[in-house]
């Protein structure tokens, strides 16, 4: 059935507890600017959605007018912190008992909204219609539940990486997140509310209820309440998790004495649910009956889902509804059932934000004029609660959170994000090299590492805003927030999808932004850029004096040495902070001698003896020495060879990575000194694009649409990825459909150890895709 909710068996749960106080810092954020409300009221939980604009600080760089002020300032550009308005989606989930308190709170804080209606869905929407209209003065506009559900489902599948997961109770990591396939259709959504609806979704607006069953969550709840005299759904699940179904069910072995060999039915299979309770003179425990009921219903739903999946030839089957909603018990029994009936051919998939689908969909219905589907959205790790079990018993962390409020925030991204067109197989691409949810040792190390580095980050954040006295207080709040996130992840590594070094870095960036530290490294980057620029001409000159072959090697060493300058790496930031004189030459000396840890330099050299590439896409890393003395000379050589160059840099700040804004200015300045760069810009053979990312890592499946367009137009045939974050933590195993070059210096001794190297080991990985023989370059290589 479409209806997702059950009728609450306890009407007193709706009586309002006025003593409930809301933690306003945490929930209903940015209510002042909220508009477009939507609400999804289920049997026990209410989900509220709104759209707001968030003012936050962004760091901007602006070139000085050098003609007038060159003497006055030796600085290259001006940094200013500006207010920027971005759009954010807020979703809050709370128990129905809080509904009146929440409505009051919203009314009191809703200042300047022009909103007149609130979109509503869910079985309880009708019941609370009058209350909502009276409290908020908004007209309740009801939307079809199934439509909302599907809309919401499409939205999260498209916008949230690691939204879907497979549940494996006994595996090392219970949650195995799925890589986001850009093509989400077609899929089957099995919504287990009080009944079951099975919906086939073929396109954004094309879906069909192909079937269903009346045996669903309501059957478990209703029949369970009758059998066990237990009223609450959660309690029934808990009973079930403690029971033994074998005392109630008739198993194959109860009939056969063993297995039914020739049909492959093992003795432990249930032949007849409740088959042993067909007697008047035996008592059965509540736990056992609840367990038997749970198995009966899960198996039945699983079987029907499989039959429908088979009939419609669908392999992606998502399960949702209050029966599933984060309950490990039901996820396990459904998974088991699907495995059994499809012999492992179909996997049961669950969604991290399953509880929000209706609210998201209702919101989207009401926000069509804002065209939310035209944008890409990103989960804000700072403002989202993450995946938790709803059961406090199974999840002690749950109650420690702000009451029982669960949140999801999504930021509208400036640009639409798409796949890099050069990915060999977008559907199997996984950006991250190590999944910390699966690798407990690595997880422990990195969580420790990020916790250790926290003091330094806080210090840096405060130092970046010397004129703001309250910066210390904000920095302290940042510390608490991020530390809490780390603690959560320690207990629940799967809270935000697969835990990776990238997600840890991104979470830190989100938390910094949350407390208005948009770019803690802006001044450092500026100083380093200034310093490095002064050496540019000298560096280029010394390179030009080398023989061709010596120069090629020096250029590569230059990129690698430049990459040592990285404040994100603790081993380096210690040296940088204690010894500002640590120079480029010193870095070169630190570099590992060949053969490097990963060394395909010889193949690369052979290749560049051949015909030039058509166009190279270069994902750059750090500011200062890295970009100016390492990367620029390198691409200068490419340009000289006749290769077009696209420099891709971050859209927003992350650590000391060079941003697109900064790179624009730097390139202009270099162009003024260097005719090769100048000509490249002038002839449109050197292009700067933004990656769409604000992360020290790189997800090639979420890149700026413009970048993808440029890559396609220019027929890019070489992708260069530089730095530990982009080429090792992520993309180390990324397979591209063209030649690729991954260059990085390992600045973390643990990671070096893991890869079998040591600190400052070099990774130089040049790859030619299989099936694309580098024949033309081989035959043309001068011998």
């Amino acid at each position: 059935m479409a209806e997702c909710s059950g009728v609450d068996s306890n009407p007193s749960s709706h009586t309002m507890d006025k003593s409930i106080t809301l933690p306003p810092d945490e929930i209903f954020r940015n209510l002042e600017n909220a508009k477009r409300f939507a609400i999804d009221i289920g049997g026990s939980l209410t989900k509220l959605a709104y759209y707001s604009t968030v003012q936050h600080k962004v760091a901007k760089v602006r070139s000085f007018d050098h003609t007038a002020k060159e003497a006055a300032s030796d600085k290259l550009y001006e940094i200013s912190v500006q207010e920027e308005v971005t759009a954010r989606l807020h979703f809050i989930k709370f128990e129905n008992a809080y509904i009146e308190t929440c409505l009051d709170f919203i009314k009191d804080h809703l200042v300047n909204t022009e909103t007149k209606v609130i979109k509503a869905t869910g079985g309880g929407a009708h019941k609370f219609k009058e209350l909502i209209e009276r409290k908020l003065g908004l007209k309740v506009d009801k939307e079809d539940e199934m439509t909302c559900l599907i809309k919401g489902c499409n939205f999260v599948l498209k916008n949230i990486p690691h939204e879907a997961f497979v549940y494996a109770k006994h595996a090392d990591s219970e949650f195995r997140f799925q890589t986001t396939n850009p093509d989400i259709f077609p899929y089957l959504l099995v919504n287990i509310g009080s009944g079951v609806s099975i919906v086939k979704v073929e396109a954004e607006d094309k879906f069909e209820r192909i079937g269903g069953s009346s045996i669903g969550g309501g059957t478990f709840w209703g029949l369970g309440a009758l059998l066990t005299k237990t009223k609450r759904f959660d309690e029934l699940l808990q009973l079930a998790s403690k029971g033994q179904h074998t005392s109630v069910d008739m198993l194959v072995k109860d009939i056969y004495g063993g297995s039914y060999g020739c049909l492959g039915l093992t003795g432990d299979l249930i032949a007849s649910s409740f088959g042993k309770s067909a007697t008047a003179d035996k008592e059965f425990s509540k736990e056992d009956m609840a367990k038997s009921l749970l198995h009966m219903i899960s198996n039945d739903i699983g079987q029907l889902a499989c039959l429908y999946a088979k009939l419609h030839n669908l392999s992606r089957v998502y399960f949702g509804g209050f029966f599933i909603r984060g309950h490990p018990v039901t996820m396990h029994t459904i998974t088991y059932s699907i495995n059994f009936f499809t012999k492992g051919e179909v996997q049961a998939l669950f969604l991290r934000h399953e509880g929000y689908l209706g609210a998201i969909g209702a919101f989207l219905k009401g926000a069509e004029e804002d065209n939310p589907n035209q944008y890409s959205w990103g989960e804000n790790y700072a403002g989202s609660s993450g995946l938790m079990s709803v059961s406090p018993d199974m999840n002690p962390m749950q109650r420690a959170r702000s009451g029982t409020f669960d949140m999801l925030e999504m930021d509208r991204l400036e640009r639409q994000l798409v796949n890099l067109p050069l990915l060999q197989d977008p559907s199997s691409y996984i950006p991250d090299t190590v999944d910390l949810t699966e690798d407990a040792l690595a997880r422990e190390y990195w969580l420790y590492c990020f916790e250790e580095a926290l003091d330094g980050v806080v210090k840096r954040a405060v130092a970046s805003q010397p004129d703001m006295p309250e910066a210390a207080l904000r920095a302290e709040k940042f510390r608490q927030k991020y530390r809490h996130k780390l603690q959560t992840l320690r207990h629940q590594p799967f809270a935000y999808g697969s835990l990776t070094v990238r997600s840890l870095l991104d979470t830190r960036e989100h938390c910094l932004n949350e407390f208005n530290f948009p770019d803690p490294y802006s001044k450092i980057k500026q100083r380093e850029n200034d310093a490095a620029l002064k050496y540019y001409q000298k560096a280029v000159k010394s390179l030009e004096e080398l023989s061709w072959e010596e120069r090629q090697f020096a250029l590569v060493r230059g990129v690698l040495a430049g990459n040592v300058f990285d404040w994100g790496a603790k081993a380096v930031s210690d040296v940088l902070e204690s010894d500002p004189e640590f120079g480029f030459e010193e870095a070169k000396r630190q570099l590992e001698e060949r053969p490097w840890l990963v060394d395909s330099y010889d193949q690369w050299l052979e290749r560049i003896k051949g015909p030039p590439h058509k166009c190279a896409l270069f994902f750059v890393d750090n500011s200062g020495v890295d970009i100016i003395l390492g990367v620029m000379p390198f691409i200068r050589e490419l340009l000289s060879r006749g290769t077009e160059v696209v420099l891709a840099s971050n859209s927003g700040p992350a650590l000391n990575d060079v941003t697109n804004g900064e790179l624009q200015i730097l390139t202009e300045r270099i162009a003024a000194m260097d005719p090769v760069i100048q000509a490249g810009l002038r002839d449109d053979r050197l292009t700067l694009v933004q990656s769409g990312s604000s992360s020290p890592c790189l997800d090639l499946s979420r890149l700026d649409k413009v970048l993808a367009m440029v890559v396609r137009e220019r027929q890019t045939d070489l992708v260069i990825i530089e730095g530990m974050g982009r080429a090792i933590h992520t993309n180390y195993y990324a397979m591209l459909s063209c030649e690729s070059l991954k260059m990085a210096v390992i600045k973390n001794s643990w990671l070096a150890d893991r890869l079998g190297g040591k600190l400052f080991s070099v990774v130089f990985k040049y790859e030619v895709p299989a099936g694309k023989p580098s024949q033309d370059c081989e035959t043309l290589t001068p011998s």
Partner: protein
């Protein structure tokens, strides 16, 4: 002279042709017969044998070879299920005076006991209305009797077999169903009987095809419900299962097995569900305190499931047009029982009815999906869940017709639960 009740027509032993033929043996050799290697292992694959089926005509034709392979009396077929034991017994009516004389006392006593009673002990029942008279089997004419008793009373049955010295008859006891495996050793130790175990699905199909082919007089074996979607005009009508393939065979016992049958020898088990007759009775016992299937059905016939179930109209006020769901359709079985007040206002009869409707409709919807996946339009429902259960049959007929928009036809067989036992008997007479 003979220990056997029936004197053989021909004493020639042909090992290859007559795997079930027993040399005379004495009591000191229990379990001697049926010891040919491979005969048990062959049972599950027996469905590949072409001429295992017998009819009146062919039986007479082959009377010579039949005589050779004809086993001694008594002829039983047994199906030991999770809940019920089904027993078919062939009572020869063409016993000659000579035979009568030679017939041992034990055999006579068994025949008399079975045919002169309609109830045995507290729980054994002979379904007199199902009896097939003047049936020719293996060249012998007689009546086929259908007897059932609860599986949990099997020990009493074995005790009776022991008391009546059944083992002295040295007959082969062909048995199918899980209990043939589970209780094999009990048969041996308690009654000194050796079971010939047979695959239950092989027996089921063999039994269905046989019974359908031999029933010619009296009520039609196969029937359906005309106008299933109009309760007032819904009537039972005979159906001729002349050209039965392909056929979906749904056997509803304690659990449910669904078979796709493409020919006499070609079938597969498509799937099954644990929500079957055992679930209905088990839940009814827990919910209402009843203890028998008959009681549960009686209560169900008096109850109203819509007080227990949540219907589409309870949620949407009427039809859910967006998805073409009629208001009367059940949205959530037992869905109303989430509410405390409603739990307190329903009767036991309502609960029994809701349980029946829930289980029946679920079987209906799984069956329908299988029929679609297997591309089969004819569905035959069998199994003891349907015994005296017109309510469920009409529901199934309705569900098949309504949800398939008339594409699927639900068929039923009068001997609903006995086909496995009949198949076992046939195996005794015509070993595959």
């Amino acid at each position: 002279m003979a220990f056997n009740g029936h004197q053989r027509d021909d004493d020639t032993v042909d090992e290859d042709e007559t795997p079930s033929k027993q040399p005379r043996s004495n009591k000191e050799m229990p379990g001697y017969f049926r010891s040919e290697p491979g005969s048990e292992a062959a049972a599950p694959t027996g469905r590949a044998t072409p001429d295992r089926r017998s009819s009146n005509a062919t039986a007479r034709h082959r009377s010579d070879s039949v005589k050779k392979t004809r086993p001694p009396f008594p002829w039983f077929g047994m199906d030991i299920g999770g809940t019920l034991v089904k027993l078919v017994y062939f009572e020869p009516k063409d016993i000659t005076a000579e035979e009568e004389q030679e017939e041992v006392e034990n055999l006579k006593s068994i025949r008399r006991y079975l045919t002169s009673n309609t109830a045995y002990g507290k729980t054994g029942i002979r379904d007199v209305h199902l009896e097939l008279q003047d049936l020719t089997l293996c060249g012998r004419t007689g009546n086929l009797h259908f007897i059932r008793f609860p599986t949990h009373d099997l020990p009493a049955f074995l005790q009776m077999g022991r008391n009546k010295h059944f083992s002295s008859l040295h007959t082969t006891l062909c048995a199918t169903g899980g209990g043939a495996y589970k209780f094999e050793s009990d048969f041996r130790t308690m009654a000194d009987l050796q079971l010939h175990k047979l695959d239950e699905l092989d027996c089921l199909i063999r039994g269905v095809l046989y019974i359908d082919s031999v029933v010619s007089s009296g009520p039609s074996e196969c029937y359906y419900f005309e106008n299933p979607t109009e309760p007032d005009r819904c009537v039972q009508k005979p159906y001729t299962l002349e050209n039965p393939y392909p056929l979906l065979l749904v056997n509803i016992g304690s659990g449910v097995s669904i078979l796709a049958v493409y020919s006499e020898n070609n079938y597969k088990r498509v799937t099954g569900t644990s929500l079957g007759g055992g679930t209905f009775l088990g839940l009814c016992c827990l919910l209402t305190g009843c203890s028998t299937f008959e009681e549960a059905l009686e209560m169900a016939s008096l109850g109203e499931s819509t007080r227990v179930d949540k219907l589409v109209r309870d949620i949407y006020g009427g039809d859910y047009e967006r998805f073409g769901l009629p208001g009367w359709a059940v949205a959530s079985s037992f869905g109303n029982m989430m509410s405390k007040e409603k739990r307190e206002s329903v009767s036991k009869e309502d609960l029994a009815r809701a349980t029946l409707v829930t289980i029946t409709n679920n079987i209906g919807s799984i069956t329908r999906m299988c029929a679609l996946n297997e591309n089969i339009e004819r569905v035959v429902f069998v199994g003891n869940f349907l015994r005296v259960n017109t309510l469920s049959m009409k529901l199934l007929a309705y569900a098949m017709d309504y949800w398939s928009k008339g594409q699927l036809k639900a068929l039923f067989l009068r001997h609903e639960g006995y086909f496995g036992a009949v198949g076992a008997l046939l195996e005794l007479l015509h070993p595959s």
